[in-house]
């Protein structure tokens, strides 16, 4: 229990801060479509060209090979500078890349890691299926071996940023006769493979960022299997684990900025009684204080999780505590925002119009990447050692 930022790391922080100050894109990020994808890729390329891509990735594949502390500093400064979220680059940078670094062959690493860091390609995730959500292990998308290819048939759903993606981290059943979790493989799927169709899905917010993918005899080279045939479940669990590490820093700082914005707004608008500013209403101030404290705790929980990860290479089940705190907290914050704004929060075109959208979008955090209920199961069983519930 100590402060571990050295003077060399403080100098690194200064350097990062300076670069971000002058280089964070000033143009507003497009809301959707190819323009948004190009924006995300160009920003990644700019970071690569300046030597900031892949802070902790191996040097031989274009990364900086720096320790975890530098990576954390980068994430902190990145979010503080208000830099755009990685968006279309997210799966490549936070899931596929780290998975390939840990589980990929040298050929796979050489083929994909540099292109990711240069912002040349985007990835999407093909895990969930229409019949396999929380029970991911029941997935039924088949892949039959035909010579040196896999022939894929089936469907994936909730695939964020699928339109335009170059690759997909795809979970398929390669051995239907093996046990539920034993016959699955993790495959690099080129999205331009003939037989793949992507149909966009509109979310409750009105935004169309995700899609359903269909595979009709899509032929993928057998050499695209990562981490060994029929070993995909363990590879996938590793991938999910990475989501619970430093990648959370960005979300948590973003949420902190959101609460700070709400405190400013509460100081400007009137309380419901119309006689004082909202922040002077004790009930409103109290709720805001609790939210502010809980966001601070989220930051501290992330720090504690990362402290553990510094001692263990693969993230443990403790990361679920952070994910649970985040998923519940963001919904509380957004609900509070709409209650604070009252009638004004209803209109999507006013100065508070963005809050309605953010409120509607926030539900995804308690569902995507594992619902909060699945997270509570994982905490109960894997962290606390409680007996397992029903398993098919």
């Amino acid at each position: 229990m100590k402060i571990i930022e050295t003077s060399a790391e403080r100098a690194f922080r200064e350097e990062v801060r300076e670069w971000l100050e002058t280089n964070v894109p000033r143009d507003k990020r497009p809301h959707d479509g190819p323009a948004m994808r190009e924006f995300d890729m160009a920003w990644q390329r700019a970071q690569y060209d300046a030597g900031w891509a892949g802070i902790s990735w191996p040097v031989e594949f274009g990364g900086r090979g720096l320790p975890l502390v530098e990576q954390m500093i980068w994430h902190e400064e990145y979010s503080r500078a208000g830099a755009p979220s990685s968006g279309n680059m997210f799966v490549a940078l936070s899931h596929a890349g780290p998975t390939l670094i840990n589980e990929g062959s040298d050929e796979q690493k050489a083929a994909h890691l540099p292109r990711i860091l240069k912002g040349e390609v985007t990835w999407c995730q093909g895990f969930s299926e229409p019949g396999s959500g929380s029970d991911l292990g029941s997935l039924r998308t088949r892949a039959e071996i035909d010579g040196d290819h896999l022939v894929v048939n089936g469907s994936k759903i909730w695939t964020t940023y699928a339109p335009g993606s170059n690759f997909q981290e795809l979970l398929v059943r390669t051995d239907p006769s093996a046990g539920k979790y034993k016959g699955i493989s993790w495959v690099i799927c080129p999205m331009d493979t003939p037989g793949i169709e992507v149909r966009p899905i509109r979310a409750m917010s009105g935004i169309t960022h995700f899609a359903q993918c269909f595979y009709d005899n899509a032929r993928i080279p057998l050499s695209n299997v990562v981490g060994g045939l029929n070993n995909g479940w363990s590879v996938a669990m590793t991938t999910l684990g990475f989501e619970r590490g430093t990648a959370n820093i960005a979300h948590q700082i973003e949420l902190s900025r959101t609460v700070e914005r709400l405190i400013v707004i509460a100081g400007e608008i009137q309380a419901p009684d119309g006689r004082r500013r909202a922040i002077e209403d004790d009930a409103i101030a109290g709720e805001l204080a609790t939210l502010r404290a809980e966001v601070a705790a989220l930051r501290s929980m992330t720090a504690l999780t990362i402290s553990r990860n510094m001692r263990q290479p693969i993230p443990g089940p403790e990361g679920n505590l952070v994910a649970l705190q985040f998923g519940e907290l963001i919904r509380k914050v957004m609900k509070f925002a709409l209650r604070l704004l009252g009638a004004e929060g209803l209109e999507r075109e006013t100065r508070f119009g963005e809050w309605a959208l953010e409120y509607l979008e926030c539900f995804k955090w308690a569902i995507g990447g594992g619902t909060t209920e699945i997270r509570r199961n994982a905490i109960g069983e894997r962290l606390l050692g409680l007996p397992r519930g029903p398993r098919a």
């Binding site: 405190i263 109290g286 601070a296 501290s300 905490i379 050692g385 409680l386």
Partner: protein, 335 residues
């Protein structure tokens, strides 16, 4: 500020030695005997606690102490929380932050003890007196009182009136404290931070302990032919208890490092720790009782001991509203 929130090797070794002593000498079972109430069990081993170095932990080596910091004190306070150790151990440790050379050696030697004086109204040292509750103050020499500007030690009042406490394992007495002649003073907001963090750590430890108790019971107790911990209703309660305890621990540790880094910095991190640790201990206390069912509602079970102590520690110089007001008035989180 990049931090490592897990204990260093030295911190771990010290924590383990304290935990081993507590397991041997202060098991929770002691609190089912009235003879141990009011800090009597702790008084009986006070010399051993002093020998461990508890009362010189953050005293400089030049003054005969260990030259550690609040970080080490908070680490052991968390263990005290798990064992429902008398608050007077915490207040005596905190008194070493205030005591001058006339009093300090006796505290370090285990000859002098200091109890919390819990004010019933915000403390104004320019007043003549203050109405206070004295906590586990039987036979103590001094009491500790502070506000955001200053901390003071006073001679323990001799005319305190015993009162019954919600936490009946703790001694509570009402007194009117004469504010005129302090035995020691320290100006500045340091004690508000240090005491808040020590109490937060004890509350976080309390929340961890009830989480562990509920989990153990969930593994062992069977209904409908299976351990109740296999049911999601129980499992999810336990997961939430683990989340609340983790939030309380993490925020307390972060706030401690923040306080050490910037002694007169803003109060935000500390107040956030106090708010969340209190909430975690009280909520976990309630769910621990619920998961234990009928047993949890009995006097002979341990569950109620933790809930009562959670309320006591939460109400020492603090309340939810006080902490919320500090949080909203502060500058905001440390980056």
């Amino acid at each position: 500020m990049i931090v490592d929130l897990l204990p260093t090797e030295d911190q771990e070794a010290f924590r383990d030695s304290v935990a081993a002593l507590l397991a041997d000498e202060l098991p929770i079972a002691r609190l089912h005997e009235e003879a141990a109430f009011g800090g009597a069990a702790e008084r009986a081993i006070w010399g051993t606690l002093a020998e461990l170095g508890l009362f010189g932990l953050s005293v400089s080596e030049a003054r005969g102490g260990f030259g550690c910091t609040l970080a080490e004190e908070v680490t052991v306070a968390r263990e005290f929380g798990k064992h429902l150790v008398s608050p007077t151990v915490l207040s005596t440790m905190l008194a070493t932050h205030v005591a001058g050379d006339d009093i300090l050696p006796a505290i370090m030697a285990g000859e002098t003890r200091v109890a919390f004086a819990n004010p019933l109204k915000p403390v104004d040292f320019s007043n003549d007196t203050a109405d206070v509750q004295l906590i586990d103050a039987e036979g103590v020499d001094y009491v500790l009182l502070w506000n955001a500007q200053e901390a003071r030690l006073y001679r323990a009042p001799t005319d305190a009136r015993q009162a019954e406490c919600l936490d009946d394992t703790v001694g509570l007495a009402r007194a009117v404290l004469d504010l005129g002649s302090p035995a020691a003073r320290r100006e500045g907001p340091w004690m508000l931070r240090a005491a808040s963090l020590m109490l937060s750590a004890a509350l976080a430890g309390n929340a961890e302990a009830t989480c562990a108790m509920a989990v153990e019971y969930g593994k062992f107790r069977e209904q409908f032919g299976q351990p109740i911990g296999s049911f999601q209703s129980i499992k999810h309660y336990c997961a939430e208890m683990a989340r609340r305890a983790e939030a309380a621990v993490a925020q307390t540790l972060f706030a401690t490092l923040d306080a050490l880094e910037r002694e007169d910095g803003n109060l935000f991190e500390v107040a956030a720790a106090r708010l969340l640790a209190g909430d975690a201990a009280r909520e976990n206390g309630r769910f621990n009782i619920q998961i234990h069912g009928g047993i949890g509602f009995t006097y002979e079970a341990d569950a109620h001991l933790f809930l009562k102590r959670a309320w006591l520690l939460s109400a020492l110089t603090s309340s939810e509203r006080i902490e919320q007001a500090r949080i909203i008035a502060a500058d905001g989180p440390t980056a």
